[in-house]
Subunit: 201 residues, 2 copies
DNA sequence: AATCAAACGGACGAATTCGTCCGTTTAGGT
DNA sequence: ACCTAAACGGACGAATTCGTCCGTTTGATT
């Protein structure tokens, strides 16, 4: 008798889906993307069956993690773009936001299959659009290098969010990298100097 | 009747060991560190038995790859340090060398077990020493930021050597990152400006 | 050329991991 | 309170992967 509209999903289903994603982020970052599904299920406090119902295949799950990461990047990009101060400072805030959220990021580490779904690429494109706006603003104001592209910023952030073991104080090192890059972003070029062969084509 | 000195290893053994390492670098970079041993053996043109004789366990093999990578980094660091020009240019050359050799680098992607053997750490320490010398030279000459550390450079290079999928023209992007960083390395700070809160502790 | 220790290859049993299937539980509507 | 579609859990057979073992081949030495 009810309309053909799907009834909304049950509460526990939503909750479990969330738990699975959280567990997956944590374990994939720590152990790599081949971490056993059973382990993810265990940490999420559900059975494997539940995991496979929400994500038909491991790749679906990984794809969802990547998708979420771009969603996060998009939110950060928008926040940085709509921020009042200078565009250069906006870029800096974007970097710092990535660093703050880094434990929630999962980006593909090697060139495996899908992972990048069409929807993910859409979000990715939107990130580009927003960053483009930010860059253009800064360029007009003479704060940013004229040749800067959204890809430069995306690459930098994806590097910042990667799990890097072995290094003791990652937080400090990452902030330093941001610092170095921000200074490099300035439109002012210190000293081309004579001893600088140009080997960038 | 012969001395207790070990006779030198056979020629084919050395050759195979080399082939295995080459195959492993390629496949680990492409498919991740859990790539089946059998696959590595196949690409190397040997049987699995041979792989396991040279590297008793997968971790031994991975450890050898990482060790080699640091050896490469050490060679590049030494070349950059003993180079005639300015120290800043030396740093730049070090980065470019890493980029050139990036397909031979294998560094741990997540915080798994061993991989960092004691010997590897020794090489790592030596890299630090050489870079420290380079940095000090540049600092004395006023070419480099006073607070720069070897770790900054090591981190940057390890980021540059990582396999990053999805991005089309990695080469171009990486050169750009180097460019950005080199400019950031200069001792001259363009514009602290009023709108720049200092949130690096 | 004869010898043999060293090295090789790959079949194989053990151990994981995958993804499904189905009997049981439960949220939420009546 | 009752009902049922939706969701759950985890045992299980199929499929991979691991690492070993041993009969065969080969490089070096005499």
């Amino acid at each position: 008798m009810s309309d053909p509209v799907a009834r909304q999903p049950r509460q526990d289903a939503l909750r479990n889906r969330e738990r699975i994603l959280e567990a997956a982020v944590e374990l994939v970052r720590r152990d790599g993307e081949t971490v056993p599904m059973a382990q993810i299920a265990e940490r999420a406090g559900v059975g494997v069956g539940t995991v496979y119902r929400h994500f038909a295949t491991r790749e679906d799950l990984l794809g969802a993690l990547v998708h979420r990461s771009f969603g996060l990047a998009l939110a950060n990009a928008r926040a940085a773009e709509s921020r009042p101060g200078s565009a250069l400072e906006g870029v800096r805030q974007f970097f710092l936001a990535t660093l703050r959220d880094r434990e929630r990021f999962v980006l593909p580490l090697h060139g495996g299959p899908p992972v990048f779904t069409p929807e993910t690429r859409e979000v990715q494109a939107e990130v580009r659009v927003v960053l483009r706006a930010l860059i253009d603003r800064g360029r007009t104001a003479g704060e940013l290098r004229g040749d800067l592209t959204p890809e430069d910023l995306i690459l930098a952030t994806s590097l910042l969010s990667r799990p890097l073991p072995g290094t003791g104080d990652w937080e400090r090192l990452a902030r330093r990298q941001i610092d170095l890059m921000i200074h490099g972003l300035g439109a002012i070029v210190p000293e081309p100097g004579p001893g600088t062969p140009r080997d960038d084509a």
